[in-house]
Symmetry: C2
Subunit: 107 residues, 2 copies
C-alpha cells in the first residue's frame, strides 16, 4: 500500500532532518527572505544560528528554517514582526513534539 511505504521512507528520514544544517545563502534561497533580513532577525533574537565562533559563517537547522517560513507567512498576512514571532513560537512547540516523536520512532 502506497501510503505505508511512503510513511516508512519519511520516518527513516528523521535522521536526515536531524543532521540538516545549511548556510545563510541556502536559507535565503529556500525561504525567499534576503540574507540581510535573516541576519537582522537573528540580531533581534528571533532566530538562532549554530555559529561556532564570531566571524565564522552562520549555520541553521531545520527548526530555524521552519520558523523563518512560518514568520514569513504571518508577515505577509499583515502581522507585525513581534506578533508574528509570538504566534510562531507557539506553533514551534508542535513541530518540536513531532520531531521528538520521530526521534523515539527511529531507535
Amino acid at each position: 500500500m502506497a501510503k505505508t511505504e511512503a510513511k516508512t521512507e519519511l520516518t527513516f528520514d528523521y535522521d536526515f532532518l536531524e543532521k540538516l544544517v545549511v548556510g545563510i545563502g541556502e536559507v535565503s534561497q529556500i525561504t525567499g527572505i534576503p540574507t540581510r533580513q535573516i541576519r537582522y532577525w537573528e540580531d533581534k533574537g528571533i532566530i538562532t544560528s549554530l555559529t561556532e565562533e564570531e566571524g565564522k559563517n552562520r549555520r541553521y537547522d531545520y527548526k530555524s528554517i521552519k520558523k523563518i517560513l512560518l514568520i514569513k507567512e504571518l508577515l505577509d498576512d499583515g502581522y507585525t514582526l513581534e506578533a508574528s514571532t509570538e504566534k510562531v513560537t507557539k506553533r514551534m512547540e508542535i513541530i518540536e513534539k513531532m520531531l521528538s516523536k520521530f526521534k523515539q520512532g527511529s531507535r
Copy 2:
C-alpha cells in the same frame, strides 16, 4: 491519533524538500564525506550538482544528498565505487517515485 498527525505534517513538508538546496560544505557535514571526495564523485559523473556556471559554488538537492548517503553505506560495506553507484541508481528510482507521489499529494 499521533501517527496521522505526524504524517500530515511530513506530507506538507514535501514543499520543503523540493526547495532544499545546499552547498558542498553542508553536504559534507550532513553526509560525513569530505568536500574533496564529493567533487571527485561529481567529476566522475556519479552525482550532479545544480551549479549555474563554471566557477560558481555547487548546489545540491535532496536527491543528490540522499544518493551520496546511500553510496557511502555501500562503500562501507565493501563494494567498489562503481558497484555502489550501480546499486544506488536502482534504489534512487524508488525515492523518485516516492517524491513524485508527494508532489501529487500536495496539490
